[in-house]
Amino acid sequence: MPSSITSASPAEAKDRHIRMAALGLLLIALKFGLDATAHFVSPQTAELLDYGTIAASIGAVLLILPLVFYKVFRLDPRDRAVYFSDQSFAMDALKRAQVFSWSVTFLLLVFLEILVDEPGALAPEFYLQVALTVMLGSAAVAFLVLSRDPGEEGLDA
């Protein structure tokens, strides 16, 4: 890896931070997914799932908190314009992932709206947990797929 990449420019830092935020969103989606699953399992299993939700929550905080710290304390004011610029491949991928997530969530909510009218519907919080799982999970996965690296090509390419 070239030294110019290892010494982080604000643009490289931004790309890396967006990826970390996407992984954080994936862990939050996992947390809500486990919460939703807990409605269908025994109390003993639900207790085990609780450990999973705690681990996912801690993981998400560990991924997202450093980004907030960086923006507030570490980001050089001279680098702010580059760091917050939305003109990059990663930001474009993020926007496309959000559009995909919005569409998937909309279809899911329409489906759930029909489902809650059926007899034997579950507690309202279950539907919210499912919607949050799908919204965050689809955005994160779509971003990670769309932002795959085409590979580095140096002078000899």
């Binding site: 110019s4 420019s9 085409p150």
Partner: protein
């Protein structure tokens, strides 16, 4: 509007100036991945990025970017 793809000669200009993707990215203030995805046609750059690249190589933007149906 016809669907004309965007072609570019960034790799040619990089080779002439003996620059890596990372060098060019740093010079114009974007990430290396942004440059690599523009080069392979996965990402259509904004006008600002196109102009920054052209300014860096000191050529008109049309020398680097062109529509695919221009022949």
């Amino acid at each position: 509007m016809p669907d004309a793809g965007l072609e570019n000669r960034i790799r040619v200009f990089r080779a002439e100036h003996r620059m890596t993707q990372a060098d060019l990215a740093r010079a114009i203030g974007v990430s290396r991945k942004t440059i690599s995805t523009i080069e392979v046609g996965r990402f259509v750059p904004s006008t600002v990025i196109a102009l920054l690249i052209a300014r860096h190589f000191d050529v008109p933007v049309e020398e680097i970017f062109s529509l695919a149906d221009e022949g």
